[in-house]
Symmetry: C2
DNA sequence: CTCTAAATGCAATACTGCTGCAAAAATAGG
DNA sequence: CCTATTTTTGCAGCAGTATTGCATTTAGAG
């Protein structure tokens, strides 16, 4: 497994185990939001379902991945930059294509500020846009 | 049960049944996003789980309620205005308080336009803001 | 190499959401 | 008001998702 993966695990003070290396490797290579089911389809013959669940929760806790919610359920995507256990960046834009079903994190977009009612304080913002992605709107 | 509830059901060409009256009444009185589990906790002794699921789906189809997604799962909230079976407004801002756990629909806010990458087409937009609500940020 | 704490696999369990079918209830028409 | 028709409900059962407890195995520190 790649050195980069091992380094990332070490940075977050996680033991480098086979399941974690593989899971992180898949996130890096697929570059889209993945569900537990997606991971199980790839890793299920080598690792227990429960281990994959626990790996995802560990990665969540450490800020390696973040949750992505659409109307079909929970997925997970890599946190590209500044996220860590105590310092998450609180601004995620996700796009789900209703045609191909892929959900992606739009990294370079930011959520415009919203004027909240008096007394409300925002800590985290998640914007989910559903529609057609570039490849699917060609057809 | 209140006349307003019955009228609402009739407007959407739904038979006025006990489960629908009660469910709609709860949405009106609680005025926050509710999960199936919330409803089951209140109605579960009088109506079957499945009936509650079907009631929710019927209300969804008719545009009486809409889905709300937060990090914990799916909830439902009343559509205040212009939604109907064929004319939904696709622009929802929801606020979840991390302190009291309540999720609310911020009716008068709209999602600011976002510049999507080339070729992307938006059909529906959901903005979830998490933080502290007015009552919880006082303390 | 050994020891210890962390991670894993397995079994069991709970929760969430759906389907098919028979019984019950709601409305339209007389 | 009564009946016929259509819709809705309850029940049983199923599938997918997610969690916990515990015994075993493994990673990494010394």
């Amino acid at each position: 497994m790649e050195q980069h993966v091992i380094d990332t695990l070490k940075e977050h003070k996680l033991r480098t185990t086979s399941c974690r290396e593989n899971t992180l490797g898949i996130f890096l290579s697929r570059d889209m939001a993945l569900s537990h089911g997606d991971l199980e389809a790839t890793l299920g013959d080598r690792f227990d379902r429960v281990t994959i669940y626990r790996t995802l929760r560990t990665f969540l806790d450490k800020g390696i991945i973040h949750k992505v919610l659409d109307d079909e359920g929970v997925r997970y995507a890599l946190c590209r930059d500044s996220c860590s256990e105590h310092n998450h960046h609180h601004d995620h834009v996700h796009f789900k294509c209703n045609e191909c079903g892929q959900t992606n994190c739009l990294e370079n977009l930011h959520v415009p500020a919203v004027q909240l009612p008096k007394g409300y304080q925002a800590r985290e913002v998640n914007l989910l846009i559903q529609g057609l992605c570039a490849s699917c709107s060609d057809n």
